[in-house]
Subunit: 425 residues, 2 copies
């Protein structure tokens, strides 16, 4: 046994400051096994600030005043300096977040008529249509029923729309890809409600309608996948939904476009055909290059983006860790490749394990930048064999007039000064 | 194709209110396949409140004013009505949360000298001792290094201490088990820092010291498991650590007692024996029934608790969903059994999938209460074969003078009026 550690008698310890120097080291990073370079200084305890007394523990843990985290409220693409009441969506700061779980207050928002403040004691969910019974559920009843929790991404079908036509080089990844977030969602499996009301066999579509003023309503095809995976959700990351995310109850359809996951859910109506609401005739269709429009393009396709280094960041030559997020509405990400030479060659990034189906996956690649201008880009592959397309492929099919489901590989250019900028490819 | 849905022309719809009635239905809940009973009323759209306009989207999503969530600041067991400055821990409201992820502001707190507000620009981490180099890392340097994210529980070794000697029947599960939370943690793998400083082969222990005034410091055995799994963490649930949880950097050792996961981490020192700080001589030892004390009892043992119905709740005869949390510092939960007759017979609860290693697991059991007084209790099993002990076994080994690592099965009694109360067994 050694003697007790000399601390806290700091005064007795050597305080000579060593001259700071940069160093270079090679380390095993486990799965990556790649070379790491860093800059850290040699030093002693004299180089570490003194310990500090603190504030009392409390009922909640606030953020540090040193941490600046916020979303960007936006109207249509390119209109970011707007009056608060004009904002229709608010984007998650992907460049400032790590891991895959999004803090509850920073989950992206997209609303068609603002955020209603619903009283859970008054709110009701009607389930009716092609069913044996028409039932009205209180929120207490939903909370008391069988439940399921699942970590899943939710993504606005408009995510990526900034880059359909042209690349604004002032955009960050928050602008280009901030309409996606990942949460643990909890609620009643849709299948339980279906059993309770006795859905008729012939019913193949379900209308979901929101309690916001617009009454956003969408027709949802009752495939086995949707019947098995859809959650009538009342909680996010362990706590009750926040008003912006549908309090007191919303639909959550993992892997499908966000606007199907109706917030402030007030009714589910079963039928034998799509209900053709204005949202699926006028709004959520995509004009293709051939002049026809895609309708009921409901699944979020495979996607990925490098979150660091990303738009408006600056890097230095030497070691740079490339990290980002990949996701697919089809299932689980199994591979992410990264190119650091504009798409000529590709290297496999390391995926943080476990990768959960229909959740974002975090990837990493150790990279040594030689200081020369280049472009970095990622592409993902899922367990159903889908590979994220390049921009040329997406535009070839869709043209540049569509607004939704842009999932092309995202390229960031890096100039000789290390400035990272949004480019089309 | 049917005609467009009549909504939003609500006025045209039938508004006759049907008399509310209770109903009983049997539904398949998938894995559980159990009978469910519920109460919901027959009704139409007239029974659902009108839709409401809303507030603008913003930079952050606040909680609903209808949601009341807070921790309970506490001093020693039984002292809950205290001045804020006397609180040393603050317990997570497990009875109000669902799923397994804990909201960042509600993760339990335990501090020995309050919550210091450290400036990340000034803070440093020294890594030294039996190493080839002594290095001082800035926070920017740590953020730029290879990283890993992991969903893991963190638990105070004092969790459960309320029930060592006697059962206060006014306690909720927040009181009895609120010193555990689960987050996604992100940071630098300890193994990367070890490679950078060149730890000597003979070093088998590591001292970790905090930057709070107390300078909480613990000796950590460098087993393969700890070397592989420990994270020098700077983020929780995607965002930078909050001050109460160690901002700007802390240790995170999945599965081991919380006080080893040193917050406000200022140095790691490598040695060839434990450093015998006062925390491991005077504080974190457990007096056993035989008069000897356990020292370096570091792993959090297998545990579980029913969170609903739980202490101070009231239930009604009929369908009641039993739900709770199970966890083990050894690995993954593979089974949770629930008894609704005070431990005479047991039924397998359903585990929410996937179950992650060293994270909390959520379990459910459908139950029909017949209205007679009874006791409910859970016991968990992990993938290493550990089974949560009953109270008699725990007390038989430890007596009633220990304070730490109480992991006995938690029993809740239910009287004829449906009142749920904390009892020893």
């Amino acid at each position: 046994m050694p003697p007790p550690d000399p601390d806290p008698a700091l005064g007795r310890m050597q305080r000579k400051r060593l001259s700071r120097r940069s160093f270079l080291a090679t380390a095993s990073t486990g799965a990556a096994g790649a070379a790491i370079a860093g800059t850290a200084a040699a030093g002693t305890l004299a180089d570490v600030p003194e310990r500090l007394p603190g504030a009392p523990v409390g009922a909640r843990s606030a953020r540090s005043p040193h941490v600046d985290l916020g979303r960007i409220p936006e109207a249509t693409p390119g209109r970011r300096n707007l009056a608060p009441e004009d904002a229709i969506n608010s984007k998650t700061p992907l460049h400032k977040l790590v891991g895959v779980v999004t803090p509850s207050d920073l989950h992206y928002e997209r609303s068609h008529s603002g955020v209603p403040d619903l009283d859970p004691a008054q709110h009701r969910l009607l389930v009716h249509g092609m069913t044996k019974k028409s039932l009205v559920f209180t929120m207490d009843e939903l909370w008391a029923m069988p439940s399921v929790s699942r970590i899943a991404f939710l993504e606005c079908s408009g995510n990526g729309w900034e880059n359909w036509k042209a690349a604004d080089e002032t955009l960050t990844v928050q602008h280009t890809h901030g309409l996606i977030s990942t949460h643990e969602w909890t609620g009643v499996p849709l299948s339980v409600l279906i059993d309770l009301v006795g859905k008729e066999r012939g019913s193949t579509w379900m209308l979901a309608e929101g309690g916001d003023a617009t009454g956003l309503a969408r027709s949802i095809p009752l495939t086995d996948e949707i019947m098995n995976e859809t959650i009538v959700a009342y909680a996010q990351n362990g706590e009750p939904l926040r008003p912006a995310h549908g309090y007191p109850v919303r639909l959550l359809i993992p892997g499908w476009e966000g606007n199907l996951s109706i917030k402030w859910l007030r009714r589910l109506k079963f039928g034998d055909a799509p209900f053709m609401t204005r949202w699926e005739t006028a709004r959520y269709t995509s004009l293709m290059a051939n002049g026809k429009a895609k309708q009921f393009q409901l699944r979020q396709e495979i996607n990925s983006v490098i979150t660091a280094p990303s738009g408006m960041m600056e890097i230095r030559p030497g070691y740079n860790r490339i990290t980002g997020l990949a996701w697919s509405g089809h299932g689980s990400i199994v591979r992410v490749e990264v190119s650091t030479d504009g798409g000529r060659t590709w290297a496999d990034a390391t995926l943080n394990r476990p990768v959960l189906p229909k959740a974002q996956a975090r990837f990493h690649l150790d990279w040594r930048w030689d200081g020369k201008p280049t472009k970095i880009v990622s592409r993902s592959t899922d367990d159903k064999g889908h590979v994220q397309p390049d921009r040329k492929t997406v535009i070839g099919e869709m043209g540049t007039n569509a607004l939704f489901h842009y999932n092309a590989q995202q390229t960031w250019s890096i100039d000789a000064a290390g400035r990272v900028r949004n480019v089309l490819s």
